[in-house]
């Protein structure tokens, strides 16, 4: 009998699952926290329901004129009703916050992808420049970091099997990272309501074994396709950025070599970390965070470059940034699969958002 139930359980959960597939490195820790919370919630809900029913039955009115006992005070009850919820809430807060830090901080060796959301599709770009629409193919057991932006409204990148969700916001970069641990195909949803076909803005994330991924990538990629960084370099020339940004600082503009990942001082006196968002913003709104010692001469490129071109430029600038930084601070060995991509070297960055977290220790601290 009990064996029958035991045998039926997996089948039952196949029909009525309580959690999505566990397909990333954070799936299990998230599930454990969730189910512990669920158990606590059920326990307290049932406790309160049982108490209420007991009171209603046991102290039910037995005669029409009956009244309850006179007012009482029980400081112990009040103290418990304050301390127990406080203790549980704070313990769960600490647990959740620790996990959140892990969810937000990508491993140093994460491979870098780009994603663009637009009504109502997802566009992805692999490190070697290969593009996919509404499909994302990634290797297993490899940390993936995706830098994302939107071309119109706010979207949100949500893969339930990976337990990750990150809003994709127009006008700025956000990042999400995950390490897929199981091969297979998983739902990709847009989780932020984005207009008419919101519910059709979905896709698939395919996780392949590394070797299969490499083979797939070779098959899909056209060797003649330029890499994002080389496209970015061409843009850098064609947009005449080189006129002011030379290999060393000039009066017109600072050199961009060694810039990425460094702490720079702004004209306002503040310091800021030169990350992807800073590069992006400086191209679109050069006056917003102007570097100390320079005149506000640079024109805006807003409206002249697409999000895709911006991403290419940023990737190119990152290769420049790595050139000097890698000389000053040798990077840890890269444990990720080799794609032969020129922007592999700098994938050692750990800070997802600009200037909001502790400075990256590996950053080339050349200053502004």
């Amino acid at each position: 009998m009990i064996d029958n139930i035991k045998n039926a359980m997996p089948q039952l959960f196949e029909y009525l699952p309580l959690h999505p597939e566990q397909a990333s490195s954070v799936s299990l820790p998230v599930d454990i926290l969730y189910f512990v919370w669920m158990a606590l919630s059920l326990f307290f809900s049932l406790l309160i329901a049982a108490a209420a029913i007991f009171m209603m039955v046991h102290y039910r009115r037995r005669a029409p004129g009956q009244v309850g006992a006179p007012e009482t005070h029980a400081p112990v009850v009040e103290a418990l009703s304050i301390t127990i919820p406080f203790a549980i809430a704070m313990a769960m807060f600490v647990w959740g916050a620790k996990l959140y830090v892990d969810l937000r901080r990508p491993p140093e060796n994460a491979v870098e992808y780009f994603a663009f959301g637009k009504q109502w599709m997802w566009k992805f770009q692999h490190p070697n420049g290969l593009r996919q629409i509404n499909h994302l193919t990634v290797p297993r057991d490899t940390p993936i970091r995706i830098t994302m932006t939107s071309e119109d409204v706010i979207h949100s990148f949500f893969v339930p099997a990976f337990r990750v969700k990150q809003d994709v916001v127009p006008g700025r970069y956000t990042t999400v990272w995950f390490t897929a641990t199981e091969t297979g195909e998983y739902h990709l949803f847009c989780a932020e309501y984005c207009g008419t076909e919101h519910s059709l803005m979905k896709g698939t994330v395919t996780v392949l074994e590394r070797e299969e991924y490499e083979a797939w990538l070779r098959r899909e990629s056209d060797p003649a396709t330029a890499t994002p960084a080389s496209t970015g370099e061409e843009l850098f020339t064609s947009l005449a950025c080189v006129t002011c940004h030379e290999e060393s600082d000039t009066t017109r503009g600072p050199a961009l070599h060694g810039l990425f990942g460094s702490e720079i001082r702004l004209a306002s006196g503040a310091t800021i970390e030169a990350d992807e968002s800073y590069l992006r913003q400086s191209i679109l709104e050069p006056m917003a965070d102007i570097r100390a010692g320079y005149q506000p001469l640079m024109p805006t490129f807003a409206g002249q470059v697409s999000e895709q071109q911006l991403a290419d430029l940023v990737r190119y600038l990152k290769t420049l940034g790595a050139q000097r930084a890698s000389v000053e601070h040798p990077r840890p060995e890269n444990a990720t699969p080799q794609h032969g991509s020129p922007d592999r070297v700098e994938e050692t960055r750990s800070e997802p958002t600009r200037g909001r977290q502790a400075p990256a220790p590996a950053a080339g601290a050349s200053g502004g």
Binding site: A52, Y59, V67, G96, V153, G171, Y193, H198, R356
Partner: protein, 558 residues
């Protein structure tokens, strides 16, 4: 002054039992130009009921569409309008005004032992402002609808939506003034118009809840009003405030919006909590337990409620440090809410508990609100928020708080004070059936949505993957029971006006000043300002004597 003018107005027909606020004048004009807080409460009751059923109709359309995975009942654009209009109507035109404007208006002056609110004309003006705002929003619905989600997120709302954002935003903007003015009116009334002896710590807990709610209304509503005005300015004049292509910041909109809209959740739930404190005490015939703890927990919730808004934004890319601060502050709200729940339960301990309809709704509130509160803590937990955010888990959570909490409280209040308001008794069997149907239908509708959400079904989805269908079917089945449960009171309460027995002044045998004046109350409420000692005293000699007389006569409660 207003007393004199009312006393001199039309006298009742000779054979009426007594003149009261209803029968003193039946003309439409006397209702639309009334400055009597009780009549204004009736005006609000009719308006919010209309909006409730309009919002409910949208909800039924949503649930019907979700019966099948394909979006086959209506187009995506129609579906998006359904959930947007459901949210806008229910939140801004039902939940926010419901208890304060209806029962706050009706019983607050009675509970304070006074003749009216501090500014009766302003009170009527508030209803007109609410109605004008409502008409704008209805116009937006009828002229093509709104499809931005009730949250009006930019730049979808300011640049990309082709629907009637302007009309709807203006409607909500106008409605905000009604909230602000009602809040102001109540604050002044509570400060200045308490009966002799009614000190702050003798105030009924419903009054404390109204006080806390009014504070949030006065302090928070201007922010959302300005935010929606900015949306309109950006949409109509192209001002770059939120649109990133014009140098604006879409995340700024979310900060401004939630700075009001999170406290607004407490605008909706605090009044219900006040009702529950009254109902639990009255039907247990026992002094409310931990009076000061409940009173201060209302204020605590009102204050903390202003400090947690960014917990709606953990996935926007906000800094980890900011997320930690907002998560921990949100967790603190567990304390005042748990204090309330424990004190309600202990109030029943050694009580004389009568299982009447309002009590059923109140106990239902405690159970459902507890689940809503605990799942709120789960959502505030940073590690699992990214997975749960914007899924059906969130939908289930806030419906447990808003429907299982706020509307259960509204139903409890409606059934508790109906004999006082209408002067009639409603049929107990039907009303208990309704309470049980609403409770069961609610659980069946929204519990599956917790599981759906964890499985990953995003909210606001017109079509969904097939594996989510079974739980959606359960949810829709529950919604039809829930819908019937809400239709019943509309029928039997209306019927009670026609054919229901006359209600005595104090049908429940409850303490509290509002039960000392006749049902329905006369225009001036009290002949003499009552002198107040303790409004929860069930050992009071007069009350005991009255209960004994009633028991001897075999009068049982409605």
């Amino acid at each position: 002054m207003s007393t004199a003018s009312r006393a001199s107005s039309a006298m009742p027909p000779a054979r009426r039992p007594a003149e009261n606020y209803i029968n003193r004048d039946w003309s439409l004009r006397s209702w639309l130009l009334t400055v009597d807080h009780k009549r204004i409460a009736i005006l609000y009751l009719i308006s919010v009921t209309v909006f409730f059923f309009i919002g409910g109709l949208f909800a039924m359309m949503i649930r019907l569409e979700l019966l099948t995975p394909q979006g086959d009942l209506m187009t995506s654009d129609t579906y998006n309008r359904m959930f947007t209009q459901h949210g806008v109507v229910m939140i801004f035109f039902f939940l926010i005004p419901s208890i304060p404007a209806v029962f706050g208006n009706f019983v607050l002056p009675l509970m304070l032992g006074t003749i009216d609110v501090a500014f009766p004309r302003l009170n009527l003006a508030s209803w007109y402002i609410y109605s004008i705002g409502g008409l704008f929003t209805l116009a937006a619905v009828l002229l093509g609808g709104i499809d931005t989600g009730w949250t009006f997120y930019s730049p979808l709302s300011t640049v990309f939506s082709n629907s009637n954002v302007f009309l709807a935003a203006i409607g909500v903007f106008i409605n905000g003034f009604s909230s602000i003015l009602t809040g102001l009116n109540f604050l002044v009334t509570i400060h200045r118009m308490r009966a002799p002896g009614l000190t702050w710590f003798r105030l009924p807990l419903f009054v404390w809840a109204m006080y806390a709610t009014s504070l949030i209304n006065v302090l928070g509503t201007p922010v959302v009003a300005i935010t929606l005005l900015l949306v309109v300015l950006e949409r109509v004049f192209g001002l770059g405030i939120f649109d990133p292509t014009l140098g604006g910041d879409p995340i700024l909109f979310q900060h401004l919006f939630w700075f009001y809209s999170h406290p607004a959740v407490y605008i909706m739930i605090l009044p219900s909590m006040g009702v529950i404190s009254e109902v639990i005490s009255a039907f247990s015939r026992r002094h409310v337990f931990g009076y000061r703890f409940i009173a201060f927990s209302s204020l605590g919730i009102a204050v903390l409620g202003f400090l947690v808004w960014a917990h709606h934004m953990f996935t926007t890319g906000m800094s980890v440090y900011a997320a930690t601060v907002f998560s921990s502050l949100t967790m603190l709200i567990a304390v005042p809410t748990a204090v309330k729940v424990v004190n309600w339960i202990v109030t029943m301990y050694k009580g004389s508990v009568a299982i009447e309809t309002p009590m059923l709704f109140a106990v239902g509130f405690i159970g459902l609100f507890t689940i809503g509160g605990l799942t709120g803590l789960m959502l505030a937990t940073l590690g699992i928020n990214p997975h749960l955010h914007d899924t059906y888990f969130v939908v289930a959570h806030f419906h447990f708080v808003m429907v299982g909490g706020a509307i259960m409280g509204f139903m409890a209040a409606l059934h508790y004070w109906w004999p006082k308001i209408s002067g009639h008794v409603y049929p107990g069997r039907w009303s208990k059936t309704s309470a049980v149907m609403i409770f069961a239908g609610f659980i069946l509708t929204f519990f599956p949505q917790f599981i759906l959400g964890y499985l990953g079904m995003p909210r606001r989805y017109h079509a969904y993957p097939e594996e989510f269908q079974a739980l959606n079917v359960l949810s829709t089945a529950g919604a039809s029971i829930l819908g019937l449960g809400y239709l019943l009171p509309a029928i039997y309460l209306t019927w009670s006006l026609v054919d229901g027995k006359r209600a005595p002044a104090n049908p429940w045998g409850a303490a509290g000043l509002e039960w000392q004046c006749p049902s329905p109350p006369p225009v001036h409420n009290f002949d003499h300002p009552p002198v107040v000692t303790d409004v929860y005293d069930y050992g009071d000699e007069h009350l005991l004597a009255a209960l004994a007389t009633r028991a001897a006569k075999g009068v049982s409660v409605g």
